[in-house]
C-alpha cells in the first residue's frame, strides 16, 4: 500500500511497525472486546516525525489514531480499519520543572505517576490520579479529561492543565493556555478523544503534597444509609480529599483479594480521606466522625501504613472482581449524588432481570459510578446481554440528570448511549466543531460522536426531550 511505503521510506524504519504480528499489541486498548488491526503503527521520537506522519496520512487520505499507553476503557485508542496508529510513548521526557510557580512542562508520553515522582523532591505532586496512573500517559489523560479518586477536592485533568501545545492535522503548532483571552479552546481540547488534534506538550499544575492524611472507614447496614452519609458529609461543609463507596459484593471481592480488614458483614463501605495540615485534618475528622456516628463499624487510620492499607482494597477492587469472573464490563455513568441510593436499587433490579451479577464501586463524592457487570464472553449471547444491561444503566444516569460517562470517555463503546444524551441538533454541533479542526475527518473518525443516522436507526433520539421514561424520578 502506498501509505505504508511512504511511511517506510520517509521515516526511520525502526519506528514503523507493519504486518499483523508486529501491530497486534496495538489492536485494542483497555476495552479488549473490540479489536482491529491497523495498516501500520508509528512510534515517533520527535515532533518532526509526527508532522511527517500527519503529512503522509493527509496526502493519502488515511485516518490517524493517536495513542498513549492504550489503557483507555472505551476503545478510544483502538485502531480503525485502514488507519495508522500514532503511538506517543517514546515522547516521555519531563522537559522542565518550575517548583516556585508549581508548573512542569512535559511530553505527552510521560506516565501520570512519573510526573509526581519527578517533582516529589520539591514537595509537590500532580493531583489527578486515575487508578491506571502507573501506566496511562498525560497525553491520554488530557485527551480523556481523566479523573481519579481525588477529583472532588483537587479537580479533573482540565483543572490541572496550564497550557498545551498541539498539532493540527495540517501540522500547524498551536499553543493553548489558560490565560488566553477568547474562547475556551484549551478546555475544548480536554476530553476531545484524539478527534481534534495531537497533543504534543503539556504544562501541568503541581500541588503541594499535603502534610497529613487520614482515612475513615465506615461500614453500613444499608446502602441507603451509606449514600445518605455521603450527602451529610458534604452538607456538614467538608470536602474530603477522597470519598469512595463499595457495595457488599465489591467489599467481599476486595477483602478476599487484598486482606485489609474490611467489614464483611457490611452492606456498604465508605472510605473518606481527609488531608491538609494536622489541625485541618483533626477538625475535619471530628466533624466527619460526628456525621458517621450511625455507621455499624467505624475505623480511622492510625498510621500511614494503615491508611494505604485501607486504600489497597479499594484500589484492587477491579482485579479482585476480575478473579471472580472470566470477564467484567465497567460502566462509568455519573449522577447527582442525591440519587445514589435509588440508582443502586435500580441496578440491583436490573441485575436480577438480566441474571448477571454486579459489583458496585463508586467515586461517591462526585457521583461517578463504576458498576462492574460480571459475565463470560465465551457463553454465546452473554456480551449482548451485558451491553443491553449497560445501556439501561446509562439511560437511567441521563434520566436522573447525569451523564453516560464521567471519566472514561465515549470512544466506540458509548456511541449508542450518546444518542440518548444528546439530540440531533446538539450532535450536529459536535460534528461541525470537529470539521473546524479536521475538515476531512482523518483524526480518529467515527469515535466519540455518533453519526445522526445511527441514532435515528436506534430510535433513541429525543427520548429525553420528549416523553420521558421513569417519570417518577426527579430530574433536571
Amino acid at each position: 500500500m502506498e501509505v505504508i511505503q511512504q511511511l517506510l521510506t520517509q521515516l526511520p524504519k525502526s519506528i514503523v511497525l507493519t504486518g499483523k504480528e508486529n501491530t497486534r499489541p496495538f489492536e485494542c486498548d483497555g476495552l479488549s472486546v473490540y479489536r482491529q488491526n491497523p495498516l501500520a503503527v508509528v512510534l515517533p521520537e520527535n515532533i518532526a516525525q509526527i508532522k511527517q506522519v500527519l503529512k503522509i496520512c493527509k496526502d493519502n487520505n488515511t485516518s490517524v489514531v493517536t495513542r498513549g499507553a492504550g489503557t483507555g476503557l472505551a476503545g478510544g485508542a483502538m485502531p480503525l480499519e485502514n488507519s495508522v496508529v500514532l503511538g506517543l510513548s517514546k515522547l516521555n521526557q519531563v522537559k522542565s520543572i518550575d517548583a516556585e510557580n508549581r508548573l512542569a512542562v512535559i511530553e505527552p508520553g510521560v506516565r501520570n505517576i512519573a510526573i509526581s515522582e519527578a517533582v516529589a523532591q520539591y514537595g509537590l505532586y500532580y493531583a489527578p490520579d486515575p487508578s491506571s496512573q502507573i501506566a496511562c500517559t498525560i497525553g491520554g489523560n488530557v485527551a480523556e479529561n481523566s479523573g481519579g479518586v481525588h477529583c472532588l477536592k483537587y479537580g479533573l485533568t482540565v483543572h490541572n492543565v496550564e497550557a498545551i501545545k498541539m498539532l493540527t492535522i495540517d501540522g500547524d503548532e498551536l499553543v493553548l493556555s489558560r490565560h488566553d483571552d477568547g474562547l475556551g479552546l484549551l478546555a475544548l481540547m480536554n476530553g476531545s478523544e484524539g478527534l481534534l488534534g495531537i497533543i504534543i506538550e503539556i504544562t501541568v499544575k503541581l500541588t503541594p503534597t499535603p502534610a497529613f492524611a487520614r482515612v475513615v472507614m465506615a461500614g453500613f447496614d444499608s446502602i441507603r444509609d451509606c449514600a445518605n452519609a455521603v450527602a451529610d458529609i458534604i452538607k456538614a461543609g467538608i470536602i474530603p480529599a477522597g470519598l469512595e463507596m463499595m457495595d457488599s459484593f465489591a467489599i467481599e471481592a476486595a477483602e478476599g483479594f487484598a486482606k485489609v480488614g474490611y467489614p464483611l458483614d457490611a452492606k456498604a463501605l465508605l472510605l473518606c480521606e481527609l488531608d491538609g495540615t494536622q489541625m485541618q485534618v483533626q477538625a475535619e475528622l471530628d466533624s466527619v466522625l460526628k456525621v458517621l456516628s450511625g455507621a455499624s463499624t467505624l475505623k480511622v487510620s492510625e498510621s500511614e501504613e494503615e491508611r494505604l492499607n485501607f486504600w489497597k482494597g479499594r484500589k484492587s477492587a477491579f482485579p479482585a472482581v476480575g478473579r471472580l469472573s472470566p470477564d467484567y464490563y465497567c460502566m462509568d455513568g455519573t449522577i447527582p449524588r442525591r440519587h445514589l441510593a435509588d440508582m443502586l436499587e435500580k441496578i440491583n433490579e436490573l441485575s436480577k432481570k438480566y441474571q448477571l451479577r454486579v459489583a458496585n464501586v463508586f467515586h461517591a463524592g462526585d457521583g461517578n459510578l463504576h458498576p462492574l457487570i460480571l459475565y463470560d464472553a465465551n457463553i454465546g449471547g452473554e456480551l449482548e446481554k451485558v451491553e443491553k444491561f449497560g445501556t439501561e444503566i446509562l439511560k437511567l444516569s441521563v434520566d436522573m440528570g447525569g451523564t453516560i460517562t464521567g471519566e472514561h470517555g465515549v470512544g466506540v463503546e458509548k456511541l449508542n448511549a450518546m444518542c440518548h444524551q444528546f439530540n440531533a441538533k446538539e450532535l450536529a454541533i459536535f460534528h461541525k466543531i470537529k470539521a473546524v479542526f479536521d475538515p476531512k475527518s482523518l483524526l480518529n473518525p467515527g469515535k466519540a460522536v455518533p453519526e445522526l443516522h445511527r441514532c435515528a436507526e436506534l430510535g433513541a433520539m429525543h427520548v429525553h426531550h420528549g416523553k420521558l421514561p421513569h417519570p417518577e424520578l426527579e430530574r433536571f
Partner: protein
C-alpha cells in the same frame, strides 16, 4: 420549556442583528440549588449578588474571582475567565438559528461530547445566547483569597481563524454583533 425561552427563540429566528445583554435577555432567577451537591443552576440574567445571597445561607460561595456583584452571571460568563470556566458544569443556549441546546449538566464529572459549556466561556455574546448555567460551588471555609486572573490575546492567526470558524458553527447567519 418556559415561555420566555420560546419568545427568545422567535426573536432570534426573526432577527438580522442582535446585541445580547441581560436586560434584553430578561431571564433571571435561581433554577435549582442543592447545597449537598455543591451545584447551583441559574438563569443567565441573574445578578451575581442574588446568587451569592442564596449561597451564603449555606456558607457556600462561587469559587472564582468576582470583580463586580451587580452584573449578571451571564455577563461574567461571556467576558470569560479561567477560574470561572473551571466551575462551569453545564449550559443551555440558543444558537444563531434559534435552536435551544443543552451541553454539560449538573454533575462534576462529565466527558460526554465536546466541552461546549466551557468552550463558550469568553464568547462575548457573539456565538450564542447563554440562557442557563450550572456552577460548581464550594464551602466558604475552603476558599482563601482569590487572585485576580489575568489574560492576554494570542496573536496566532490560525487561532483567530479557528475562532472565526467556530462562530460560524453556532451563528451561521452572523446575527450576534
Amino acid at each position: 420549556m418556559s415561555n420566555r425561552i420560546i419568545q427568545l427563540q422567535q426573536l432570534i429566528k426573526n432577527a438580522n442583528h442582535l446585541h445580547i445583554n441581560s436586560e434584553w435577555l430578561a431571564y433571571a432567577g435561581v433554577i435549582e440549588y442543592y447545597p449537598e451537591e455543591l451545584v447551583i443552576t441559574v438563569k443567565a440574567g441573574t445578578k451575581i449578588s442574588a446568587i451569592q445571597a442564596k449561597l451564603a445561607k449555606h456558607n457556600q460561595v462561587l469559587p472564582f474571582f468576582i470583580k463586580a456583584t451587580d452584573i449578571s452571571i451571564g455577563a461574567a460568563y461571556a467576558k470569560g475567565a479561567q477560574d470561572l470556566s473551571d466551575c462551569v458544569l453545564g449550559v443551555k443556549i440558543i444558537d444563531g438559528t434559534g435552536e435551544y441546546l443543552n451541553f454539560g449538566g449538573q454533575v462534576i464529572k462529565n466527558v460526554a461530547g465536546y466541552d461546549v459549556a466551557r468552550l463558550l466561556v469568553g464568547s462575548k455574546g457573539k456565538l450564542a445566547v447563554i440562557t442557563q448555567i450550572s456552577f460548581k460551588v464550594m464551602p466558604k471555609a475552603y476558599i482563601g483569597k482569590i487572585k485576580k486572573p489575568y489574560s492576554s490575546k494570542s496573536d496566532n492567526p490560525i487561532l483567530r481563524e479557528i475562532e472565526q470558524k467556530l462562530k460560524q458553527v453556532f451563528d451561521p447567519r452572523s446575527i450576534f454583533k
